[in-house]
Subunit: 136 residues, 2 copies
């Protein structure tokens, strides 16, 4: 069992944020000690860690809340939960494509800078006006 401070340190996640998640209903069944302080078990930390991973890739708190609500209803909601996760997986793939394109665009831009610094005039036609460059 961990205090909120310990949880916060282990997860590298502000205690305020953990309380916020609790208030939003993302942490059902968190136990309290006899002073009303939250006590976290390992499985609570695992769940917060997983939520942090989902959040970091764009899943909304509302979607997390829906997963929790469905999970609380039992195994007959697994189909709906699977649908949410599969949609998120598609969203992750889309984001990966966006990142790949951006990486390529930045690389091209850096090439433009290289050519300008080398004073390579053949390549300066790539520049936007004579200052702001745009790729091809």
């Amino acid at each position: 069992m961990f205090t909120i401070k310990e949880a916060s340190e282990k997860l590298n996640c502000a205690a305020h944020t953990i309380r916020f998640y609790d208030k939003e209903g993302l942490l059902p069944n968190i136990r309290r000690d006899d002073h009303g302080n939250r006590m976290f078990e390992k499985r609570d930390l695992d769940w917060i860690r997983l939520m942090t991973c989902f959040r970091a890739t764009g899943m909304s708190v509302a979607d997390l809340k829906q997963i929790v609500d469905l999970a609380l209803q039992g195994d007959e909601t697994i189909g709906q939960r699977r649908a949410i996760l599969e949609a998120h997986q598609e969203e992750i793939k889309r984001k990966q494509r966006v990142l790949d394109e951006a990486f390529e665009a930045v690389s091209q831009k850096l090439e433009v800078y290289n050519n300008i610094e080398k004073g390579n005039p053949e390549e300066r036609f790539l520049t936007y006006i004579d200052k702001l460059d745009s790729p091809q």
Copy 2:
């Protein structure tokens, strides 16, 4: 030359947003017709497209603004611009790693659902309490 409406349609970007970028100083030297309406050239659209690509991967408007301001100062600022873009490229790589991890976590979670639905009791130990699952 394009009106803001044409630019908006070509870029799939709200006219309001383009005006907002202009107001923020992200579109220097945009021309106006004799009624004060903005006129966009192809190179303006290219620059907005590139900014959209950067924005979509998390570059802040403030960073874009800095790139523009540096570009307006001339080629002697290319080193600073390169540093911003290289930092952004690192940030893109970091995001790619986060996405890869999340994809893996979602896949594991979907596996857990599969095992529960198959009624595979050996695998139920993976679940969080008996409702909220956490990976490994």
